[in-house]
């Protein structure tokens, strides 16, 4: 009964964080509303010409998703840090990277996945065509987890610092640029009649890369920040 597998641990952390997130549904909604608002501001800023909106739609949705994920990242570790549960999580008999991965997965499920799900509605606002919309969603589905992973490293590094939120964005946003580029390029490729496969597979490669290294790096960062 003392046996706790790696996967068991991962499941446990994800379950715990999901339960906590469900108890605080307002936080989840705030991120989502922020995303919708930022995206809706663009037509007001650049004018309602459909041709123009269709052209900028992928970029707008991606940048808004990037900003929205920055917004929610601050909470990734800080809530657990403030009430002392983070120390207990560090004392589990499984590697810390597994705990971190679990937290990042849960974070993505409550802050990344809703964005992906609502993106089609916003895409229609921008008069995007069905096939481009599909690729946009696919790109977001592959890319937003990577944003959460890279963001997890930033969140661990800035844990407990004054002005942590702004600092976090400053550190993480430059590192997210490749995701933005490949995500929007995939949609552009479809729009101009080309195959998006290469862009999407690059996004997939980045996801695999992030999955392999990011939890470990974030765990190291947490250890440094907890000292």
């Amino acid at each position: 009964m003392k046996e706790l597998t790696l996967f068991g641990m991962l499941k446990l952390v994800v379950q715990r964080d999901m339960t906590l997130a469900m108890r605080r549904r307002a936080d989840v909604l705030t991120t989502l509303i922020f995303f919708v608002m930022v995206v809706s501001l663009f037509p007001l800023g650049v004018g309602p010409e459909m041709e123009m909106l269709r052209k900028i739609a992928p970029g707008v949705l991606w940048v808004a998703a990037l900003l929205a994920s920055m917004l929610s990242l601050g909470r990734l570790f800080s809530a657990d840090h403030q009430d002392g549960t983070l120390e207990q999580l560090m004392l589990t008999p499984q590697p810390l990277a597994v705990v971190v991965l679990g937290k990042i997965i849960a974070h993505w499920m409550v802050s990344g996945l809703p964005l992906v799900l609502i993106a089609p509605v916003l895409g229609i606002q921008f008069d995007m065509r069905m096939e481009t919309l599909g690729i946009l969603i696919l790109g977001l589905l592959l890319g937003t987890p990577v944003l959460s992973m890279i963001g997890g490293i930033g969140a661990a590094l800035t844990l407990g610092l004054r002005g942590g939120g702004v600092l976090l964005s400053l550190l993480v946003l430059p590192l997210c640029i490749p995701i933005l580029i490949f995500g929007t390029a995939a949609v552009d490729a479809v729009a101009s009649g080309l195959s998006p496969v290469s862009h999407l597979s690059l996004l997939g490669a980045l996801l695999v890369l992030a999955l392999t290294f990011a939890p470990w790096v974030a765990a190291q960062a947490l250890r440094i920040s907890m000292e």
Partner: protein, 245 residues
């Protein structure tokens, strides 16, 4: 001949060594600048396509090269400090960052000045300029993180980790920006002739060397202050002639 590297990795020894080396680096940097500028402006011929404007490369290219190399050197020192827990390498990493950021800035500035006569715009989203801008962001992030952590040990270790993550990302960023650039058929800074005139090459190399020497001198001078600050409680600092004053 075996050199005792560990001896020089002690902050007190390094402080004295750096103090002796700085004037040499500074003087040779000044001389190289003078020679490089002379060759660049008076010996190197006018480029038949770009006219006199091409002479910006003698500062633009060395600054770009240095800003990138300094980031790698910084990440290298940061990694050394993180893995072997050597205090001096962490101090070196923090001392390199501002100089690297300034070189990135000079590279951007001169790139913009070059762009205006060439393409009629101060800023073009050229792959190299864009990467350079992102590199500047990475430097700024590193410095912002380091300065917002009060505990020097945590500051060193956290920003070291960031520098390493950043240096892993730099090739990915560069590649993605290049890809993005070709997709959008943007303009690229290309040198008109396939072969550079010998004098142009000489000027470029001498200016590059001058920038290196300057960077080393400034970084050493800065690291001396960092060493003093970190070691202020120790006996050897108290016994320094400049402290006794």
């Amino acid at each position: 001949m075996a050199i005792n590297w560990f001896k020089y990795s002690a902050p007190s020894t390094f402080y004295a060594l750096a103090g002796k080396l700085i004037p040499w680096f500074a003087i040779s940097a000044a001389m190289m600048f003078a020679v490089g500028l002379y060759i660049g402006f008076f010996v190197a011929p006018v480029d038949y396509q770009q006219g006199e404007f091409y002479r910006i490369i003698f500062i633009h290219v060395p600054a770009s090269i240095l800003s990138m190399f300094l980031y790698l050197v910084m990440a290298g020192y940061a990694a050394l400090g993180l893995i072997f827990n050597t205090r001096l390498s962490a101090m070196m990493a923090t001392a390199i960052a501002p100089t690297g950021a300034l070189f990135a800035f000079i590279s951007l500035w001169t790139g913009a000045l070059w762009g205006k006569p060439m393409w009629g715009a101060w800023w073009v989203w050229d792959a190299r300029l864009t990467s350079e801008l992102i590199l500047l962001f990475l430097y700024l992030g590193y410095m912002a993180l380091h300065s917002s952590i009060d505990d020097p040990r945590r500051a060193d270790r956290a920003s070291a980790l960031l520098a390493i993550v950043g240096s892993v990302n730099v090739p990915i960023i560069y590649f993605s920006v290049k890809w993005w650039n070709t997709l959008h058929q943007g303009s690229t800074i290309k040198f008109s002739g396939t072969t550079m005139h010998v004098a142009m090459q000489q000027a470029m190399f001498i200016m590059l060397a001058a920038c290196w020497l300057y960077a080393i001198a400034v970084v050493l001078a800065r690291v001396r202050s960092v060493i003093l600050e970190r070691e202020r409680q120790t006996k050897w600092v108290a016994e320094l002639p400049e402290v006794r004053g």
